[in-house]
Point group: C2
Chain length 224, copies 2
DNA sequence: CACACCGATATTGTCAACAATATTGTGCAG
DNA sequence: CTGCACAATATTGTTGACAATATCGGTGTG
């Protein structure tokens, strides 16, 4: 509460403002999202808020029950694993397609990206590595050219960004994921769709295992 | 036009009514969906129509442009192929998971379903086969228990139901798809996730080839 | 003391009217 | 005859108020 929603003004289209607020963590899971409150906080009409909540519901970020309002959806560990399984096969698909149609220039770009990731891990730059990580996944999607898969992946990303964040902060995690990422890059640069898909799937499988691990060690940062 | 939208009354929640109308083909691709018209046709307020269109937009069934209204989204062949590629990996995932956790009772159900499909093809019952087809895919999703994948698949289904329909009506198509379906069933019943996934992917790959074929022979039934 | 009933409150869902915007048709100049 | 400015129209986007519904607190009774 107490946020006066200064940042939106008329710049971003409200739905993005709320989405960012949820992803950033301004709204915690299970927090109620009352239409009237949001309309004042974001200086928008209730109808706009309503339509934004509709959109975010379909994106899986908020949950609505008839006559009972909207709340920030709390994705359980089981759901996070499901999402990662879907990501596994979809990113595998994108990696395979990227390996097929990658250009020479893009190969160089990927290799440079790989080098940067290596360096970030060596330097212990967690934040930089996380950013490069996202960049890699995004580029694979873009180059794969599978817009349908990209849209789905983009939506899923928002849903377990919280779990993803916990993973990235896990000590020792980068040294595990780095070789997996490099394998994806290698497969794509070698124009080997099957290798790229295998590598992408292996990476996500590893993410799933890590999710289960991190849950066993330290339960949720903020209990529901 | 000229439909007075008799069927909805107060039974189904409007959004489903419009969705069914689009899927059924009452509204053809690229047809404009004017809010005022729909509100009279379906005897609902414009606000309700508006929110329904919002929802359907997020489902990918309609397309909206700022201040220019909504139209039924026409999915191109390229998009249909993309969708089928996504289906390929997701149904592969579901089939694999189904193979892992299928019960003895469900094995019998699948085998019975396979027998029915065989019979329908032998009898030349296109409609019955199409129905069994959908039932098979649905059961695989349900038993796989991957709700995230299921939701995505369900949404994608609505988008290329038109292309799917054209395929089903293609002469000779059932004899091609039947063994593919049976292979999926066999893989699941054998509790062999890899075989089930391979079979599911092979099936969808065949669907993609068939989509390209049917486009080459007979372009769209109703040009955009 | 526990439990069902009932009214008060908060919140969503719906509606009708108004403003903003894009499209279309018309008239005029070149 | 063609191209452009401009008004008329059609349609969406927004606002505010109203009705429907669920939740919460109190009250009475077994």
């Amino acid at each position: 509460m107490a946020e006066d929603g200064a940042r939106d003004g008329a710049g971003l289209p409200l739905v993005e403002a709320i989405r960012e607020a949820i992803i950033r963590g301004d709204f915690v899971p299970n927090q109620r999202l009352v239409e009237a409150d949001l309309s004042t906080q974001f200086a928008a009409s209730r109808a706009s808020v309503r339509s934004a909540l509709l959109e975010l519901t379909n994106e899986g970020l908020v949950e609505r029950i008839q006559h009972r309002g909207a709340r920030v959806r709390a994705v359980s560990l089981a759901e996070a694993i499901e999402i990662s399984e879907v990501r596994m096969v979809l990113e595998g698909l994108c990696a395979a397609k990227a390996a097929e149609c990658v250009t020479g220039e893009e190969v160089l770009e990927f290799q440079s990206l790989g080098a940067s990731m290596r360096k970030a891990v060596a330097d212990g730059d967690l934040l930089g590595y996380s950013s490069l990580n996202q960049q890699l996944h995004r580029r694979v999607r873009e180059i794969g050219g599978q817009q349908t898969a990209s849209r789905v992946l983009e939506r899923l990303r928002g849903q377990n960004v919280r779990h993803q964040f916990r993973l990235a902060m896990q000590p020792g995690r980068p040294s595990v994921s780095l070789p997996e990422h490099l394998a994806i890059i290698d497969g794509i640069c070698a124009h080997d769709p099957e290798a790229a898909e295998r590598a992408a799937r292996a990476h996500l499988r590893s993410v799933i295992v890590a999710l289960q691990e991190v849950d066993r060690t330290g339960p949720p940062p903020r209990g529901a």
